[in-house]
């Protein structure tokens, strides 16, 4: 469509990723085995991590806006723009969590590397635009995508906490996180985030169903993406139940959180591109 056009969003994308890279680097540097040193390091490094990740979010917002102006539609169609948009929204939600809940800050060493999966992936993709399907002008698209972003972001925060519990399971790494609250508290907070994720997951499914009814004349049809998203919702609900029904070790429940996040990740960035769903609208 825009062949030969200058990809104006790329410098902003690189700058945003650069800011995230520095934030990642500093959050690892802030780890220390010694308790007193940890307190000093967190005091000196954490404000920089916060500032850099906020800067990254702003730069990615500019990248998204530039792209929007260039190709004439929002970041909803191809994998490249979906990844940039998630890099922005995951970063945004995590930056707010990092800012408001200082006790959770060491989760950055789990969360940022997870974000980097998207960061590296996006660099390998072609930034060309794709046609905007006519059914994407629907206002429910915004609700669906917006709720979905919060769902994934809260799963990511939950995974950050679960990741710390799992890392602390290794004797080698345990001392790095000793200034954080006990596992039982991390576990409780992690599952609070997962409960919040379930609220937004449910909202995403409902908004998606309303949109599907408008766009394709049915609210639910077990297409690949719907089924995958439903299984993800069910796994989350079942895990919450299993935890309430049985005494399950925190290690296992932490693994469950990571599995739910990975499942969500594959649903988002795998299914729509593996399956030639009705979303495309050619002919």
């Amino acid at each position: 469509m825009n062949e030969g056009a200058v990809i104006t969003e790329l410098p902003w994308l690189y700058a945003g990723l650069g800011a995230y890279a520095l934030a990642t680097f500093l959050s690892f540097k802030a780890l220390a085995r010694d308790g007193a040193a940890a307190a000093t390091l967190s005091r000196t490094h954490e404000p920089f991590v916060l500032g850099l990740s906020a800067a990254g979010v702003l730069l990615l917002a500019v990248a998204l806006a530039e792209r929007w102006l260039r190709i004439g539609h929002g970041p909803f169609v191809n994998l490249f723009e979906l990844l940039v948009s998630q890099l922005f929204s995951l970063g945004l939600v995590y930056t707010v969590v990092y800012w408001r809940l200082p006790v959770l800050r060491p989760t950055a060493v789990v969360v940022f590397p997870a974000i980097w999966i998207l960061g590296v992936w996006v660099l390998l993709l072609d930034p060309a635009g794709a046609p905007y399907p006519p059914t994407y002008h629907n206002k429910w698209l915004w609700a669906h995508v917006g709720f979905g972003k919060f769902f994934l972001a809260f799963c990511l925060v939950g995974s950050g906490l679960a990741g710390i519990i799992l890392l602390r399971g290794s004797r080698l790494l345990a001392s790095l996180f000793r200034h954080m609250p006990a596992d039982s508290i991390l576990d409780t907070v992690a599952w609070r985030f997962m409960l919040l994720a379930l609220v937004f997951d449910s909202l995403m499914l409902v908004a998606g169903a309303v949109w599907a009814q408008d766009a394709w004349g049915r609210y639910w049809a077990w297409d690949a993406l719907e089924t995958s998203a439903f299984l993800n919702w069910l796994l989350l609900g079942a895990s919450i139940h299993a935890r309430a029904t049985y005494r399950i070790s925190m290690r296992v429940t932490s693994i469950l959180i990571v599995v739910i996040f990975v499942f969500a990740f594959l649903t988002y960035f795998g299914t729509p591109f593996y399956s030639e769903a009705a979303h495309k609208g050619v002919i």
Partner: protein, 342 residues
């Protein structure tokens, strides 16, 4: 009685039901042909009974307002989805420009045994349509004009298409990519009254190279026709499919395998009568969907989510209180902070 209810309400059964539902959903992934609906219905029925029993008998759920609302909402969704399947109707219809919706023209009709809508009260007339295409033949907006009776002989014009269905008496009509050209023909038999009809050519531009069909007017032999159109189709540029402004030449097979070209208004003498090509028109394929539970389903989901959010809020308050207590005991070593909060 109560003991039986508690057994039915077992949370272990919930997990079994969820597992079975997961298997059912996985089997339904991408709708493989041959997966029976039972793989979903059986676990859903089991979960509904289990949940109903739990709501009646388990204080963990029925004494906590938000959680109760959430689970009641879930139960309602399952019940409504089931009622929806029993009362729904689906079908397809191709409407020629200028013609009115007629129930008899519906095809691929599937309806639940309890379907009882007022389809016979649905009235509208198909008008012209346009469809925009962008480079690479990606379909852009479809604008299909329809007219619906507005009382006292007046007509209301509406434009429908893509994510804007025409909704009449609860029946929802969606435009589809299935649409094309329709030459209007009149057969003037040597003896008897003339008949006018339309021939729906194969979907355009999907079958751009196969614009052919047959027409058999009552009492006459089959007539084979082809269409040569200048629709401006161009895979390398943006273009608009606009049948109302598309010139089209009709090619008819006459005696001796001769092919004769007809322009609008021209006639051709055939065995037993004369064929007149009146004009080029169009047809639009609609998908019909009716489900009286749609709005209720939405309300039930909102109730459920509201309940879940309220439950979260209450629990979140508990975490904050817990965190405040931790803050107070800050000087103690972290390992003593333990105790798993519910």
């Amino acid at each position: 009685m109560m003991k039986r209810l508690r057994q039915l309400a077992s949370l272990r059964l919930t997990l079994v039901g969820m597992g079975l539902l997961g298997v059912g959903a996985a089997l339904s992934y991408d709708n493989p042909v041959g997966t029976p609906v039972w793989v979903l219905v059986v676990p859903l029925a089991l979960l509904s009974v289990n949940l109903f029993a739990a709501i009646l008998s388990n204080p963990h759920i029925n004494r906590r307002g938000g959680l109760l609302l959430f689970h009641v909402g879930l139960l309602l969704i399952v019940v409504l989805a089931a009622v929806g399947r029993l009362t729904r109707m689906e079908g397809r219809i191709e409407l020629t420009e200028g013609s009115a919706f007629a129930v008899e023209d519906l095809t691929e009709v599937r309806q639940g045994p309890w379907h009882a809508g007022a389809l016979d009260r649905v009235e509208f007339v198909q008008g012209p349509y346009t469809v925009d295409y962008t480079v690479g033949m990606a379909r852009g907006p479809t604008r299909s004009k329809v007219m619906i009776p507005a009382g006292q002989g007046d007509w209301e014009r509406r434009t429908v298409g893509d994510d804007t269905p025409l909704v009449l008496e609860g029946y929802r009509f969606y435009t589809t990519f299935n649409k094309g050209f329709a030459p209007i023909l009149t057969w003037l038999p040597d003896h008897g009254a003339p008949v006018t009809g339309s021939v729906h050519m194969p979907p355009y531009p999907l079958f751009e190279h196969r614009q052919a069909n047959r027409w058999t007017p009552a009492g006459a032999d089959e007539i084979r026709v082809w269409l040569q159109i200048e629709a401006g189709m161009n895979p390398e540029a943006d273009w608009r499919l606009d049948p109302a402004n598309t010139p089209g030449v009709l090619v008819v097979r006459a005696a001796g395998d001769r092919r004769v070209e007809l322009r609008p208004g021209e006639s051709l003498r055939l065995d037993g009568g004369t064929l007149r090509y009146e004009r080029l028109s169009s047809w639009m394929g609609y998908k019909l969907y009716y489900d009286p539970t749609l709005h209720w389903l939405f309300i039930a989901s909102m109730i459920a989510i509201f309940g879940l959010a309220a439950h979260f809020w209450r629990k979140f308050g508990a975490v904050q209180a817990y965190a405040a207590a931790q803050e107070a005991a800050k000087n103690k070593p972290s390992d003593e902070m333990g105790g798993r909060a519910a």
